[in-house]
């Protein structure tokens, strides 16, 4: 099947005509009139239509759907639809949106705004010996998962709609479909998924709505698989951002005030922007203690495809700004970026901007010091400076960054999700893990198996993980936000303990051998599996006030320091990352190799965002929606990596674990900017740090333009 869009960014659809020379009789066409319920793809709000209702808000917005038994004929048919439209001048940038070039949302184009205030920034600036201002910009980023978005749907004899496909969040898809197809039984099955990184958090709901609508109309199974180019052009990207900092410091570099203004480009519909912005806002100060803070943030509407979830979820954008800003501060004050961080980083007892007191598992200092020592940072910086003074093929630079990340949903998110997961002893003597948590290459099936096996005292081979299928597993919430190990792992641990107690009560002791479990299964599960389901329980000492936006924004934070060592070619300005050092606090590494996999992968993905991934948009559409021209790093670009795991246990995580999935993506970009500054003397404040920008900067320095 194909999705028909008109390719203009903003305007009204006047007329749709079907060319009579096309053989339409085998094709099935669906439009808004075929939608039995609401024409929406519900996420936080229901503002995004499933099919454009008479007007389009971005160039990839679907208008019609066509299905045909022959794939080639679908495309033929799609070319025979003529859409007459009235195009309006679109809003394509954050600046145009703030200037209200057109009103796309409310009276100001703002989807959502937040304000955090602590102390008085006014007083903080009065106290300051230095005041430094800077502006930082980040581009959209494509997830580049293995397979593009794809979905299949069919209607069962009893009228139930079944959809299966590549996705992160089966229950999100189910929730969205229930509003489109009210009164129908909806079953959602996750197919094998090769990566998502947030890119399969909300878009699969759209795709599922499309295939289900055609399946219902045609009464046949319908499949829709985007090719790479369509996937890149139509699906979500990381929110582009502009972040401005105004910072007050004492003479010796202690923070007196941080005044931060954040704007994210949300795209045409609100989708996940409020929560992405929330996380970005809450991480905007970096892992530093400052008595006077003001963070103001807004997400605004533009006529581009909606931006969405991407590993880090708003935090990489704002952490890039605060970390790169240390370089600006160093440039203007002469203070050393390492000393500045040492002076200001959070420790146990530090207070965050929301008033949150950090009580435990605070490793900012340990991460920084271990990383600095492993990289011989100070000696290497001196040696690079001397290399750069002499002739040679490259300039060398080393830069660092220190970041944090709150695992799990922000604020009251986990309470509202009320996730459920279960373990069961089956008649065949195997223990099942029942969760809607999806495996997509990150290793959750392994880690959850480990947690359950460890808690029950079993070999991992005696535990199996059920396929995420809404007909089989409870709603454990989405597989996002670095929450699986910490939140779902914990629920499963509790459920396992209940199972263990029950079996021990019945049999005297919980068997730990295959033989013993088989006997237990036969004895206790004659009428069905022995099933224990648990729900997330908020630790009472973690308190968040959503209305006031104050309190414990996250139960705990992970910390990472990174040092990037790179060379810049003196002829071509190409940047080669030679080595990366990371020191990462994960609480407890349940599976150290998988943890290293997350750190290495997040680091390379972050380096891509920092250096080469340049999504070019033209009239609201991605102009380089192919891997040839949207340049992600290859294995040949990946640097040597020294991955140092710190285990500073978090008592409320399973076996002390904190989430790890997103943290490593927060760190590389500002460290690259710092290293390029040492190598070239240029402070580049807009990602990606392309050789073209270095070249331009060098020409400006020489007072010369080509």
């Amino acid at each position: 099947m194909a999705r028909i869009a008109v390719g203009f960014a903003f305007g009204a659809i006047k007329k749709i005509q079907f060319d009579p020379c096309c053989p339409w009789k085998d094709a099935v066409v669906a439009d808004t009139k075929d939608i039995p319920g609401e024409n929406c793809v519900a996420t936080i709000e229901a503002d995004q239509p499933l099919l454009a209702p008479g007007r389009v808000m971005h160039p990839m917005e679907p208008i019609l759907l066509v299905a045909h038994p022959d794939r080639n004929k679908v495309w033929q048919a799609a070319r025979h639809v003529q859409i007459t439209y009235e195009e309006r001048d679109p809003v394509l940038t954050i600046e145009e949106s703030l200037a209200r070039k057109q009103l796309l949302r409310g009276t100001d184009n703002v989807f959502k705004e937040y304000l955090i205030e602590r102390g008085s920034v006014k007083d903080g600036f009065l106290e300051a010996a230095h005041i430094v201002e800077g502006e930082y910009r980040t581009p959209p980023q494509e997830h580049a998962y293995i397979e593009p978005n794809g979905m299949a749907a069919w209607v069962e004899e009893n009228g139930a709609i079944v959809v299966a496909g590549s996705m992160q969040c089966p229950y999100y898809v189910q929730k969205a479909l229930k509003r489109i197809f009210p009164g129908r039984n909806i079953r959602v099955i996750q197919a094998v998924t090769g990566g998502a990184f947030g890119g399969k958090e909300d878009y699969p709901s759209m795709l599922a709505g499309h295939v289900a609508l055609l399946a219902l109309k045609s009464r046949k199974p319908v499949k829709m698989l985007y090719d790479r180019s369509e996937d890149m052009a139509a699906t979500t990207k990381r929110h582009p951002s502009i972040v401005r900092h105004r910072t007050g410091l004492t003479k010796d570099g202690r923070l007196t005030a941080q005044d931060i203004d954040i704007v994210f480009d949300g795209g045409a519909y609100i989708t996940l922007s409020p929560v992405v912005l929330s996380r970005g806002t809450l991480h905007a100060t970096g892992p530093y203690a400052c008595p006077n803070v003001r963070v103001r943030s807004r997400a605004v509407a533009t006529n581009t495809p909606p931006n969405g979830a991407f590993r880090g979820f708003g935090a990489p954008q704002t952490l890039f700004a605060v970390e790169a800003h240390w370089e600006k501060i160093a440039q203007e004050t002469g203070l050393d970026p390492l000393k500045l961080r040492r002076r200001n980083l959070v420790k146990e007892g530090s207070v965050m901007a929301t008033g949150q007191v950090l009580k435990e598992s605070v490793s900012a200092s340990e991460a920084l010091e271990r990383c600095v020592a492993r990289a011989s940072y100070e000696a290497a910086r001196l040696s690079h400076a001397s290399v750069n003074r002499k002739p040679g093929p490259v300039w060398k630079g080393m830069g660092l960054a220190l970041v944090h990340h709150g695992p799990g949903f922000t604020g009251s998110g986990e309470v509202m999700l009320a996730s459920r997961a279960a373990v069961a002893l089956n008649r065949d003597g195997m223990v099942s893990v029942l969760a809607a948590t999806t495996e997509m290459g990150q290793g959750e099936a392994t880690v959850l198996t480990q947690i359950v096996a460890e808690t029950l005292g079993l070999d991992m081979s005696l535990v199996r993980v059920e396929t995420p299928d809404t007909a089989k597993v409870p709603n454990s919430g989405p597989t996002v936000a670095s929450r699986t190990t910490m939140i779902i792992g914990n629920i499963l641990m509790k459920a396992s303990l209940k199972l263990k107690d029950k079996v021990a009560k019945e049999l005297g002791a919980f068997p730990t051998t295959a033989k013993g479990l088989k006997a237990a299964g036969r004895k206790l599960c004659a009428k069905g599996p022995l099933h224990f389901e648990e729900e997330y329980q908020k630790p009472p000492e973690i308190v968040w006030n959503e209305a006031a936006y104050k309190g414990d924004a996250y139960g705990v934070y992970g910390y990472e320091a990174i040092i990037v060592d790179l060379s810049v070619d003196r002829l071509t300005y190409e940047v080669k990352v030679d080595r990366v050092f990371t020191s990462t606090d994960v609480g407890r590494a349940i599976h150290p190799d998988l943890v290293r996999g997350q750190i290495a992968g997040g680091t390379v993905q972050g380096l891509g965002w920092a250096l080469t991934e340049n999504a070019v948009f033209s009239r609201g559409s991605m102009a380089n929606s192919q891997f040839t021209n949207y340049v992600i790093p290859t294995f040949a670009d990946a640097p040597a990596m020294d991955l140092d795991i710190i285990e500073n246990p978090y008592p409320r995580g399973p076996y002390g674990a904190k989430g790890i999935g997103e943290l490593p993506h927060n760190a590389p970009a500002p460290a690259v900017v710092a290293a390029v500054r040492q190598a070239t003397g240029l402070l580049i404040t807009e990602l990606p740090v392309l050789p073209e920008k270095i070249c331009h900067g060098m020409l400006m320095k020489k007072g010369r333009t080509s």
């Binding site: 180019s229 002829l571 071509t572 021209n629 340049v631 073209e692 331009h696 020409l699 080509s706």
Partner: protein
């Protein structure tokens, strides 16, 4: 889908004249991408890969003849190519990735006529000739005359590339350079790609200078103005700077989503400066 698979050159020419709309296919590394995007659907394919007489590197009087179906990998590793035409070997090692080098052929690369063809600057400074064949006979086309524009060659309809002839250099150059500037370490399309040769007089003056750039104009270009200017001159820093300034006489880089005109020009100049400067 109609695939024609000739076993000999004669059969290929006959099939091509019978099916003039067929797409000649050798390694397919670029053609497959276009095919997948749907832009070529419905056209017959003339698969040349079974024509053995067009594969391999042979000696000829005064040079080497490279069969059109010779892969980049074979060229990259061939001892005679490495000895006599090291810039071509280096260029073949910089094409795409090892997988593309294994499949992609020199003839296919030329017929594809991308402005960013990585082997083209080397072939231009080696003054290669492209030997073509059709039912009307053979032609020997100087390499720079092979291209008519972006993705356009001088080939007539139903004419195929048979071989590329590489004349041996009259003398060993004093210095030589190949440099590809791509978007990443592998699988990269060039932003600029350069090849240069220089011969010096005993006193240090430039006897002959050849320099070619790819991705800097719709087709590969020799720097005729800079080459003529430097002939007979000592490569002083002011002479080099004048030569660098003359680049825009022969190349016209553009801004696109891979790079900027400013970058392409400055980096090409830097490569030239560094090559001539010690």
């Amino acid at each position: 889908m109609k695939v024609l698979r000739p076993r000999s050159a004669d059969e290929a020419l006959r099939l091509f004249s019978e099916n003039p709309l067929a797409l000649p296919f050798s390694g397919g590394t670029d053609l497959m991408v276009a095919w997948n995007m749907g832009s070529l659907n419905g056209k017959p394919v003339l698969d040349l890969s079974a024509i053995r007489e067009w594969i391999g590197i042979r000696k000829m009087p005064g040079g080497l003849a490279v069969g059109a179906l010779t892969t980049h990998a074979e060229l990259r590793d061939h001892p005679e190519i490495r000895r006599n035409f090291p810039l071509l070997a280096a260029a073949c090692a910089a094409v795409g990735s090892v997988q593309i080098q294994n499949r992609g052929t020199l003839g296919g690369n030329i017929a594809n006529a991308s402005p960013a063809g990585d082997t083209f600057p080397a072939l231009a400074v080696y003054e290669a000739r492209v030997r073509t064949i059709s039912r009307h006979g053979r032609r020997n086309i100087p390499f720079l005359h092979m291209f008519a524009g972006v993705k356009k060659t001088a080939l007539n309809q139903t004419e195929l590339i048979e071989a590329v002839e590489l004349p041996f250099l009259h003398a060993k150059p004093a210095r030589q350079v190949f440099r590809k500037v791509g978007t990443r370490a592998a699988q990269a399309i060039s932003k600029t790609v350069a090849a240069g040769l220089v011969w010096l007089e005993k006193g240090g003056a430039i006897k002959e200078f050849r320099f070619a750039l790819g991705s800097m104009a719709p087709t590969v270009r020799r720097l005729a103005a800079a080459e003529a200017f430097l002939k007979g001159r000592t490569p002083s820093s002011s002479a080099i700077e004048t030569a660098a300034g003359l680049l825009t006489k022969d190349v016209h880089p553009i801004d696109d989503f891979r790079s900027t005109a400013e970058y392409r020009l400055e980096v090409s100049r830097n490569i030239l400066r560094s090559f001539l400067g010690t």
